[in-house]
C-alpha cells in the first residue's frame, strides 16, 4: 500500500484525488461568493446536498449512491449544502474575496467553542494540523439546526489545504 493509499484509507483526501474535485479555474476566480468544493469520493446512499441546493447546481441523483455532480454555472456559493451535508464534506471557496493573495472559505462547524465574528481562529488542514491563523468574517446557521458555517479569511494558496477551524 502506498503512503497516499494509506492516508486516503484513513479519511485524508490526498493530492492525487483532489484535482477532479476542483471547479473550472476561470469561473472559480471570477464567481463572487465562491463555488462549492465537495469532498465526497465514496459511493454512499445519501443525497441531502442536492435536496438542499436552492439553485439546482448540485444535480439530481440518478441513483442515491452516486457521488455528487455539480453544475458550477448555477452555484452561487450560498453554503446551504455546507450546513446540510451529513458528512460535512461541502466547502465553499470564494477566490474573489479580499486582497489578491486572500480568499474566503465557508466551512462547516459543529464544535464548541463557537467562533465569533472578528475572532482569530486556528485553521486546520485535513490532518488537523494548524496551518494558519485566519480571521472570522461571519458565522451563519443556515438551517437553524446548530450546524454553523464559519466564513474565514485564508491565504489563497491554502484553499485546498484548510478544512476546519478551531477557536484558540
Amino acid at each position: 500500500m502506498t503512503n497516499n493509499e494509506k492516508l486516503f484509507n484513513s479519511g485524508i483526501l490526498t493530492k492525487d484525488k483532489q484535482e477532479t474535485l476542483l471547479p473550472p479555474q476561470e469561473l472559480w476566480e471570477n464567481r463572487k461568493n465562491g463555488l462549492v468544493v465537495i469532498e465526497c469520493p465514496q459511493q454512499i446512499p445519501c443525497n441531502p446536498c442536492h435536496d438542499s441546493c436552492p439553485t439546482g447546481a448540485i444535480l439530481p441523483f440518478e441513483n442515491i449512491i452516486d457521488t455528487p455532480r455539480i453544475d458550477y454555472e448555477k452555484c452561487t456559493g450560498c453554503a446551504r449544502c455546507v450546513a446540510r451535508c451529513p458528512g460535512l464534506a461541502c466547502f465553499v471557496v470564494d477566490l474573489t474575496w479580499g486582497e489578491e493573495d486572500e480568499a474566503l472559505m465557508k466551512l462547516p462547524h459543529e464544535m464548541l467553542p463557537l467562533p465569533d465574528k472578528g475572532d482569530e481562529v486556528a485553521c486546520l488542514n485535513r490532518m488537523g494540523e494548524e496551518v494558519h491563523r485566519g480571521k472570522v468574517i461571519n458565522v451563519t446557521e443556515p438551517w437553524k439546526d446548530c450546524t454553523r458555517v464559519v466564513h474565514v479569511s485564508v491565504p489563497r494558496d491554502m484553499v485546498m489545504e484548510i478544512r476546519a477551524v478551531k477557536v484558540v
Binding site: E110, M111, L112, L114, C146
Partner: protein, 109 residues
C-alpha cells in the same frame, strides 16, 4: 463532590438545571443524582467506576453495555443483589452498594 456533567454542547441541550436531583448513598457515602436516570449513570457522574468485584478472580467491573445485557454493572440495591444498574432508575434514598461476589439472598422478613 460535584457531579461531572456535560454543561455545554454544540447540539444537545441537557437542561440539567430542570432535572430533579435526589440524594442516595453509595457504600454509605451520600451522593446526588437525577431521579429516573439509571443508577449506573448517576454513579458515573459522581466519579464511581467500580460497581462490583467478581466472585472467582476478584476483578473489578463497571459499566459496559448500558442496555441490561452484559451483567457487568450488577450491584446491591436496597439489599437486593444482581440489580442491573444500567437499566434501573435512580430513586431518592436508594442504598446502593458495591457487590462482592454473587450476592447474598436474605431471608424474607
Amino acid at each position: 463532590m460535584t457531579r461531572k456533567m456535560i454543561k455545554d454542547h454544540p447540539i444537545l441541550n441537557f437542561e440539567h438545571e430542570k432535572k430533579k436531583v435526589v440524594k442516595f448513598t453509595f457504600d454509605g457515602r451520600e451522593m446526588e443524582g437525577v431521579e429516573g436516570e439509571p443508577i449506573a449513570a448517576a454513579l458515573h457522574s459522581n466519579g464511581v467506576q467500580i460497581y462490583r468485584i467478581t466472585p472467582k478472580q476478584e476483578r473489578t467491573r463497571g459499566f459496559f453495555c448500558a442496555i441490561g445485557k452484559c451483567s457487568s454493572c450488577f450491584m446491591v440495591v436496597n439489599g437486593v443483589p444482581n440489580v442491573r444498574t444500567c437499566v434501573t432508575p435512580l430513586e431518592a434514598g436508594m442504598k446502593v452498594e458495591t457487590q462482592t461476589g454473587m450476592g447474598i439472598l436474605k431471608p424474607e422478613e
